[in-house]
């Protein structure tokens, strides 16, 4: 084994009240892709932030090529040849691409910035990396994938020994992913070591050499890709077997409740499908495939350009969002912080809004019956298994998992026939996920219609009875039964021709 580029021994990070990283030993050798794998909050980001110089360890050591180092800043780490592309973009949207790449080290001519040289050198860098981006474009006009490329280009200067990539493919299309992987192969061949954080297990077999699994800040193990498989990795990540996580949901066919015919919104083609009672309809597709946008337009949250939506026998094609909710369709937002919850209020107050709007037991019209609503929120909180201590706490103080429980609870505050869950488990730990899946099972088995839009493919495959696959703004497949397997779905994810359902 070649001597490691990076080696950490007993690396720990203590925050007030939280041990974010607990004595982790980690090493990276030249020319390998070392994947960091774990749930949100497992400590992956904390680990790389210390390798990148953005954070300092509480205890433990970092060695670079056998020499102990202490990074005071990202620039220190870059001085040692360690470059990081963080998940949060560091680009300034109003500047041009070239200005962003050279931010802080602009080429100058005397006291003035040499814009021409800047653009020329940026163009050279893009050519070297084979990224088709115009250096003089304003960054905000680029797609997220292109911005990701700019971010990589920005990291890629000087003498690179280590490249750290934090979920680089989260927003890329498949072609861009291929492109990125080719680029990673080139770097590997040059002997650069790559630390790669990703949740997408299907990528690991393509690029990973070794995988290190973290859980709750602790190192669970480091395994060679050749000697492991998905089930073993999930078990390492969650501490439990896959079969314990996803419940079996019985299907009760109660007929069509929501009929979507030729509906089109900005960025999608006309789409048609049916939602049936007593069934979980999975909706899969890459980010940007239009799956969320289409359902948002059904809810009246995105512009509805064409088509009809029928709920039972009522036409809701042009109804207001609130009318659609009152008619019995609930939409669970994928972004609990910005459009799901009122963060500065208690869990109870958040849960109370929906029964309040449903006029729960109003004795005098327009006046809230707080006692009835208190009982209702209590029973909802019991149902979503929100601990008693969290009910009067402000939502902002809860963990992501408990916030998601509150958000789910809001769905139970009024009479609903069709539940549309958009990324219902985003950023949620496995324990909470299992609880939320049981709620979905309860709903479907009680004869409600459940739509589950998710970028988490195992979730969709394991829970749905029927599924729609979106790609490039249209439905590329409607699958059920044995057709619902990863290979088939992935084929339709990347379907360019649009052989259709």
């Amino acid at each position: 084994m070649t001597s490691p580029l990076i080696k950490t021994t007993g690396l720990s990070k203590q925050y007030p009240g939280v041990l974010a990283l607990d004595a982790v030993d980690f090493d990276l050798v030249p020319g390998e892709v070392h994947v960091l794998f774990g749930e949100n909050g497992a400590g992956k980001s904390t680990l790389i932030s210390m390798l990148a110089g953005a954070n300092t360890p509480s205890s433990g050591t970092i060695e670079v090529e056998g020499e102990a180092v202490r990074f005071g800043s990202v620039a220190d780490a870059q001085g040692k040849g360690i470059y990081t592309v963080f998940q949060e973009f560091s680009l300034i949207p109003t500047l041009t691409v070239a200005q962003n790449i050279f931010l802080g080290w602009e080429p100058t001519k005397g006291p003035f910035i040499d814009h021409r040289a800047m653009r020329r050198r940026a163009a050279e860098m893009f050519e070297e990396l084979d990224f088709p981006i115009d250096p003089s474009a304003v960054t905000a006009t680029l797609s997220r994938a292109q911005q990701q490329m700019v971010e990589i280009t920005k990291a890629f200067h000087g003498d690179m020994k280590v490249l750290i990539l934090d979920e680089p493919t989260a927003s890329l299309t498949d072609r861009e992913v291929d492109h990125l992987f080719d680029f990673i192969e080139t770097l590997k061949a040059k002997g650069v070591g790559i630390v790669y954080i990703s949740h997408r297990m299907q990528e690991f077999s393509r690029i990973a050499d070794r995988i290190t699994v973290l859980r709750d800040g602790a190192l669970i193990g480091t395994v060679a890709m050749a000697e492991t498989d998905d089930a073993a990795l999930v078990e390492m990540m969650t501490g439990r077997a896959i079969s314990e996580i996803y419940p079996r949901i019985e299907r009760q066919d109660g007929g069509v409740v929501l009929d979507v015919a030729e509906v089109r919104t900005a960025g999608t083609l006309p789409c048609s499908f049916e939602v049936r009672a007593g069934e979980v309809l999975g909706v899969a597709g890459l980010v940007g495939s239009g799956k969320s946008r289409l359902f948002r337009s059904v809810m009246g949250l995105n512009p509805r350009l064409a088509g009809t939506v029928t709920l039972g026998d009522r036409d809701i094609s042009q109804a207001h969002t609130r009318e659609i909710i009152q008619a019995g369709v609930y939409y669970l937002s994928p972004d609990r912080k910005s459009e799901g919850l009122d963060l500065a209020k208690s869990s109870n107050a958040n849960l109370g809004v929906n029964p309040m709007m449903a006029r729960l037991e109003e004795k005098l019209r327009g006046f809230v019956n707080w006692r009835a609503i208190g009982d209702k929120t209590e029973s909802i909180a019991d149902r979503v298994e929100l601990s008693t201590g969290y009910r009067t706490k402000l939502v902002s103080q809860l963990s992501g998992g408990n916030q998601q429980k509150v958000l789910f609870g809001k769905a139970f505050g009024q009479d609903i026939d069709v539940y549309i869950f958009d990324e219902p488990t985003v950023g949620v730990d496995m324990g909470t996920r299992a609880a939320l899946y049981l709620l979905i099972k309860e709903l479907a088995e009680a004869g409600k219609a459940v739509v589950m839009i998710s970028s988490d493919l195992p979730e969709v495959l394991n829970l749905s009875h029927r599924m729609l696959v979106f790609a490039h703004g249209k439905i590329t497949a409607e699958l059920s039964g044995d057709e619902m397997n990863e290979d088939t779905v992935l084929k339709y994810f990347f379907d360019e021709s649009g052989a259709t359902a």
């Binding site: 969002t321 609130r322 799901g340 963060l343 809004v353 309040m356 709007m357 809230v368 902002s396």
Partner: protein, 336 residues
């Protein structure tokens, strides 16, 4: 470090009080002590009653301002709503007395209705701009404020409108019901109504929800636009009521009434713990906040602080309150 450990529970209690109710109890305590030292006339029953009567106008406007702040905006046009009400209602009464010289109370009612109508228009325009055209509340209410102030001056040519029925000023300016000054009675009724409105009705609850997170409110089937409209209209109407009471007090319709009240009402609300980010605030605290502002002004008068210096101090107080509000918000969000 034994000192630090013994004082910890005290600090903890202060911190808890601050997080729960905000900066007002501290300010109020400091003001009471300070002005009692500076003037021996300050802490007398007569003076405090005086403050209570003077604070009626600010209490009313602050409650309106509070609704708009809770909805996530703010209203800089409350002062002009007062001025417009004053001018329009005075002109209306003068006209109506001419038409129905024998029905004085009819004339007063007509004039008051006209004043309310004008304020309703101001509130509706504010609400329309903020809710439907998504103009920032700052620009919308500032613009409306200029428009309305201009119209009020245009209507009167800058000259106070006189000649209103005497009964109007006698009752609403200087009258007493059950031995209590009429403005105080009106304010008490408004406080009770406002408390019921904000804590017991659907519309009030919706205002809290919209201010807390407008997108989440939208996804909870709340008509966010209508809710915002309601907030601005209610605010303008309360300001209008204040305008009527002030008009009765000065016995003429004046276009320069309510000049500083926008700033004062925002200060009263922020000091009383109403969040500038929306969603948080309580009626009873705002009443106390407005009382506090008037109390400070009264104390400064007794301590012979010049009126120019009072402006300086009031502005500084507002900024200080906002700084404390920021600190409190951070504590709340981080679980303090």
């Amino acid at each position: 470090m034994s000192d630090a450990t013994t004082s910890n529970p005290v600090f903890g209690a202060i911190r808890n009080l601050f997080v729960r109710v905000g900066v007002l109890p501290f300010f109020l305590g400091i003001a009471l002590v300070l002005f009692t030292i500076l003037s021996d006339k300050f802490l007398t029953m007569q003076n405090l009653m005086n403050v209570a009567r003077q604070s009626v106008y600010l209490v009313l406007v602050s409650m309106g301002q509070m609704i708009v702040l809770i909805s996530g905006g703010f209203d800089l046009s409350v002062g002009t709503a007062i001025a417009v009400t004053s001018v329009v209602s005075a002109l209306g009464m003068v006209w109506a007395v001419g038409v129905f010289p024998d029905a004085v109370w009819l004339a007063i009612a007509l004039g008051a209705l006209m004043g309310f109508g004008a304020a309703l228009l101001i509130g509706a325009v504010n609400g329309l701009g903020v809710a439907y055209f998504e103009v920032s509340p700052f620009i919308m209410t500032l613009g409306v404020s200029s428009v309305a102030a201009g119209l009020a001056l245009f209507l009167t040519g800058g000259v106070p409108v006189s000649g209103m029925p005497f009964a109007f000023a006698d009752t609403f300016g200087f009258g007493r019901w059950w031995g209590v000054p009429v403005p105080v009675v009106v304010a008490v009724i408004c406080i009770v109504l406002m408390w019921v409105f904000m804590s017991r009705t659907r519309v009030g609850t919706q205002i809290y929800a919209v201010g807390g997170n407008i997108k989440a409110a939208h996804l909870s089937a709340i008509d966010t636009k209508k809710t915002l409209m309601t907030a601005y209209i209610v605010c303008a109407l309360i300001a209008s009521l204040t305008g009527l009471l002030l008009t009765a007090r000065v016995e003429s319709g004046e276009a320069n009434l309510g000049g500083t009240i926008a700033l004062e009402s925002i200060a009263a609300c922020v000091i009383a713990g109403v969040s500038l980010r929306g969603g948080i605030g309580r009626v009873e605290n705002v009443v106390l906040g407005a009382f506090f502002i008037v109390l400070v002004q009264n104390g400064m008068n007794l301590a012979q602080v010049s009126s120019y210096m009072q402006m300086v101090l009031l502005g500084a107080l507002l900024i200080l309150a906002v700084i404390f509000d920021q600190m409190r918000y951070r504590m709340i969000m981080s679980g303090g």
